[in-house]
């Protein structure tokens, strides 16, 4: 393993980005309904 190589982790593939995590509902976004109050 080369020096700059990160420690090995088993390959992982997972689903992400539920509505809560989507940029369409992130704080500061006016769209996406139900994203919560802007701060």
């Amino acid at each position: 393993m080369s020096e700059e190589q990160a420690p090995y982790e088993k390959p992982n593939v997972e689903d992400i980005l539920t509505d809560d995590e989507s940029i369409s509902t992130a704080p500061g976004t006016t769209g996406g309904g139900g994203g919560g109050a802007e701060t």
Partner: protein
């Protein structure tokens, strides 16, 4: 995930408690949901437990429908509105052009299809034509982790190799594959190794089933296995490998055959000579598809279901063994025509109970360890050289974390660094390339690299990040659902 289909006894109990098994319909549909088409009697193998008794039919050269007649049956079945079909035999690919044409016609109409085959005749052309279709799952029979086990079970030397190579060709063109393992006392001990091989080979779905005791199996033989032991084997595999490979542990004996009740079935079966039955287990005919028309036969099932002789037969089924010990056994005895005016003149000939089933010379036993090692190497060799490509997608991110959007279904995925590396290796590459990459980049030993790369490729395939390089991308049906079609018992 292990899906336990209803056992015979459990299904009967549920029925009595008013909770009908999943397969049962609460009311008879006016139009059929599905059709099971037995394209041919003939088979090139000699399985001693064949539930359709195909070896006997093969030797007797029993006449069957012509290609044009089968195409007419398919046309009429589509007109009736079926949404699901099982194309089977015998070995349907013995009539390859007809069978592929039938599958293409059904798939073109949007019907979900199970093609039962022993894999022997799955050549490049068959795999390519099936891979171009959507909604097709090939159920390929593989009985054991060692060639000798399978070849003696199937009665023909070389049949394990042909089955495995057939599965590989189907996976290479993106066809959904279910490996069907008929478990007997002779091969039960190899089921753990079998599951490992299917995992390595990249098979998405495995169906493990006991012998269905009709046809040749009803003549005798020791077919009984321990279902709890089999369930433990599956659970141990899933604890080790997860549930990315779907495993169905099947009741196998037709489950609710004794649960006939008053509700007509939702599907029908067409025998190779055109005779129409409700399903594989009930040896009663309701006319002939060519002589009477499919619609008239379906109406005969629908209207004539509450027939006294069927009811009497069904009520004699108190346990799965009764299928074989009844005075009327499916595929062994002459079928009984039910409805006057739409009578089945089977023309199949009889003598099923007394007809011997000569086996082809089985291969000589060889050292089990050497046999298993050779099988593992064969499977690994096929799995490691199958080529993949990316599905339509976009991705971004840093080296340590990658974000992927699949443009076909809009799903978002996150991959860690090694996951991204395997994904890159499969853009035109193989599992073998991914193994080499993990080994060289991260200093893994060969065994660990194989383990992790195989699991990663299965994940990437399951989530449709990568697809078979030679496939159309039409995709494996997520819910093939074919075991739900009443009468779609496993291929023999």
């Amino acid at each position: 995930m292990l899906r336990r289909e209803e056992s015979f006894t459990w299904g009967r109990l549920l029925w009595r408690l008013g909770r009908r098994p999943r397969q049962a319909l609460t009311e008879a549909p006016e139009r059929p949901v599905g059709a099971k088409l037995e394209i041919t009697y003939a088979c090139n193998l000699r399985c001693g437990f064949c539930y359709t008794d195909s070896p006997r039919r093969t030797l007797q050269r029993t006449p069957e429908l012509s290609d044009d007649q089968w195409r007419e049956v398919v046309r009429q079945s589509l007109d009736l509105g079926i949404v699901e079909a099982v194309v089977t035999g015998g070995e349907p690919l013995l009539r390859k052009d007809l069978t592929l044409g039938v599958v293409e016609a059904l798939a073109g109409a949007g019907v979900g299809i199970t093609l039962n085959t022993n894999g022997w005749f799955v050549d490049e052309e068959a795999a390519r034509r099936l891979g171009a279709l959507s909604g097709v799952t090939a159920h390929v029979s593989i009985d054991g982790a060692r060639p000798w086990l399978h070849d003696t079970s199937r009665g023909v030397p070389g049949s394990w190799r042909r089955a495995i190579e057939g599965v590989d060709r189907l996976l290479s063109t993106g066809v959904g594959v279910c490996a069907v393992h008929v478990v007997t006392p002779d091969n039960a001990a190899s089921v753990p190794d079998f599951l490992e091989q299917m995992w390595t080979l990249g098979v998405p779905w495995v169906r493990v089933t006991p012998v269905v005791e009709t046809g040749a199996a009803a003549r005798g033989g020791n077919w009984r296995i321990s279902r709890p032991a089999l369930r433990r084997v599956v659970e141990e595999f899933e604890a080790r490998r997860g549930t990315a490979m779907r495993i169905t542990l099947q009741a196998g004996t037709g489950g609710g055959v004794g649960l006939q009740g008053k509700v007509a079935p939702g599907s029908f079966l067409v025998r190779p000579n055109g005779d129409v039955r409700p399903d594989s287990l009930r040896p009663f005919t309701f006319g002939n598809a060519i002589r009477d028309g499919v619609s008239a036969c379906w109406k005969a099932i629908h209207d004539g279901w509450n027939d006294e002789q069927i009811d009497r037969w069904a009520k004699s089924m108190h346990g799965s063994r009764d299928l074989a010990e009844s005075s009327l056994v499916a595929y062994l005895d002459d079928e009984v025509p039910v409805v006057p005016g739409v009578t089945g003149d089977t023309g199949e000939g009889s003598g099923g109970r007394d007809a011997p089933v000569p086996a082809k010379t089985p291969p000589d036993p060889i050292d089990p360890t050497r046999d298993l090692t050779a099988a593992r190497e064969k499977v690994r060799g096929l799995a490691h050289t199958r080529r993949y490509r990316h599905a339509p997608l976009r991705w971004t991110g840093s080296r340590g974390k990658r974000f992927v959007r699949l443009t076909t279904n809009g799903r978002y995925l996150q991959l860690n660094e090694s996951g991204g590396a395997v994904m890159d290796a499969l853009d035109g590459g193989t599992l073998g390339d991914a193994v080499g990459l993990l080994r060289d980049r991260y200093g893994l030993d060969e065994s660990r690299a194989r383990e992790d790369a195989t699991a990663a490729v299965r994940e990437l395939l399951g989530k449709q990040v990568v697809i078979a390089a030679s496939g159309s991308g039409a995709g494996f049906p997520e819910e093939a659902g074919t075991t739900d079609l009443p009468g779609s018992e496993p291929t023999g």
